[in-house]
Amino acid sequence: MTDLAAELIGVSKRFGPVLANDGIDLAVARGEVHAVVGENGAGKSTLMSILYGLHRPDAGEIRRDGQRITLRSPADAIRHGLGMVHQRFRLFPDLTVAENIVIGAEPVRRGHLDRAAAHRAVAALSEKYGLRADPSALVRGLPVGVRQRVEILRALYRDAEILILDEPTAVLTPGETDRLFEVLRTVAATGVSILLVTHKLSEVMAVGDRVTVLRQGRVTGRFTTRETNANELVNAMIGRSLTPPAPKRAQPPQENPVLEVRDLTIHDADGVARLSEVSLSVHPGEIVGLAGVAGSGQRELIDSVTGLRGAVPGVFLAGTPVLSGRDPRVAYVPEDRHGRATAPGMSVAENILMGAQRELGSRWSLPRAAVKKRAKDLVERFSISAASVDIPISALSGGNAQKAVLARELTRPSHVVVAEEPTQGVDVGVRERVHALLLAARDEGAAILLQSSELSELRELADRILVLYEGRVVAEFQGDAHETDIGRAMTGATE
């Protein structure tokens, strides 16, 4: 191979009983977009963390431009021209875009931050890579896609020659994803190498030059995207092909709706309407999809339906008003895994317990054995790979943590299932299983409200799709409607 920017040779890393990386070789050429794919827990994040100095490998070496290097910390990695865009952004919300970008390496004049120079530098970078971002805007008010761009600019400002992105699109809308990929192509064209971890094979095929497939800590395939296809990649990842999605049912059963929202209007603290006269109903045995660009009222609607917004007038579950707090009749898979769906410091067992604690125990007792047994059963049923149910859930790979959340919620006795981005961060095999689970729940009579930023997911699962735009339901489609039509409605275009 010609011009290598970085090489990982025979890298191994063990966490207790888990061999997360097992003699991995990975070579990244200058200016290429190199995708890294694999099942949940395959060791992708671990490998990226090693390359960014967050973990030290037990064995193996790292080379930069042919030279062996040792990385003791991210600071070392940055010095060697490595940059990483974290999934949970590490920006200071109350600083401006420019300040966030130059922080740690500020241009200084007479002992103070030279704002003008910082702005000029940021403007020049934006120009060079075609990454638009207003240097003087406060980060607090920026959409996720722009914040991510700021993270990328921050790495480039520190002269990163290798940019690591671990599941960067999990938090993006389809439009933002497209823009990110344009940016990545531009950046790569200037000679920067990009390492992209993702579960979405369409993305790999769209931007990747080459692909490395990991499985159980080892490399199980190396491909050039132009010479491969998604099927081949899936096979290398999970050792089988995916079954094509089940054909749609002809006629969803028509009974009384279990979930009914009537003329729901919600104002925020400033009196701005976040939801206006939203009405919808979900029947038993039906999946209703919720589409819309981020911030169109999904948060307010779902928080009203689950009871988390308090007793909201106009929301009914099985004919009675929704209960304030968390209505126990709703199973709810939240999209914010760290903020809402889990307590990262608590064990897997205790995370899986949440919501069922009063069934398993009482005010004065909560048998540990029962808690663990329940967790072990679910870990097995949902094939969650966890060394034990006593380790903190933050030690699970992203996808396995998501599976734990799904296991907890989908086994909850409930009338209604509300799922936000249920397959975020899970691998293709698990995604298939999650879809099967949702469909099975539907067939057993559950009423499901499904919010997803992936239109393909909505089209695959939903019987009907509602489009939210600026707090209103602006369109309703059959589940098999054309993606372009749905996409048009999402931008508020009326015919």
């Binding site: 126990p328 903020g339 769906a341 307590a343 604690q357 004065w364 909560l366």
Partner: protein
Amino acid sequence: MTAPALARRVVASAPVVAVVGALALTTLVMLVVGVDPTLAYPALVRGAIFDGNLEYTIAAFVPTLGMALAFALPLRAGEFNLGGDGQLAIGGVTAAALALLVPLPPVVAVVLPLVAGALAGGLVAAIAAPFSTRLRIPAIVSTLLISAPAVSLASYLVRFPLAEPNTGIAQTPTLPDASHLPFMGGSGYVTIGLPLIVVLTGLWLHIDGRTVTGYEIRATGQNREFARYGGVKVDRVAALALAGGGAFAGLAGALIVLGPPYRFVDGALTAPGYTFTAVAAVLLASARPLAIPVAVALLTVLQVGGLGMEREAGVPSQLTQIVQGLIIVIVAVLATVRARRGVRG
């Protein structure tokens, strides 16, 4: 985990590093100010454990453990209770008032003031709850703000309505005999307060680890949004945890007052700095429940031994305060360093 790996983990753990580091720095301070550590440390140990001093140490251990629980319990729910002094003083004065003013039959004369002291302490702490849940003023601020007036109120009550007449000393009269806590064994200092606080600590450990209440308190402390999402009434849980902590402080106050010298002497509850020592102990134990009694014991030995060191080696007992301060600083620094390093994507 292999044995050497385990050993390495223990040696490098925050509490060990903090204690060893603090002792090393203290030794350095001793050397700088010209005190001979080979005289000072034996004097410290003698002052805490030998020469019949163990009794004092155990007597001081009881309220310190109570105050440690007063800080640790709300901390499990993510609330910082820094108002221990106020809860302690109000608990003490309530117990004293009840014992002095209401004629009570034996046994009840001990039990009722203890219960009332705990309730009063819990009430003082609970006042802070709505500040935190409604007004979003953190408990760390509101408990501290409420503490000063609470201490003053206790002080006022002791100086005027409850004061011992015609002495001019700011203290209550001696409590009636029926309200004196019985001693343990043949000791003249250690009362049944010791088994009581030990049993209550055990009860707390049980609640924390093995009940739904404890689980919901911990979930609230670990991630309030997660707990709320899970259907936990987080505001109520936080208030309950604060009140529970305050009850331990109030009980500690009542135990002090019902023990020798059987009266509320103004300032005697807050002057020894139980609250501060307790906070240091809980931080040293990294809020791990089982480690808390051990850390309290260690710091109490330092505290009481410090007085012996002052008597024998002429080292100001403030030095032990410095040790505690250093322990807190080192624990805090280690925690911050770990938080920075340990982040995962």
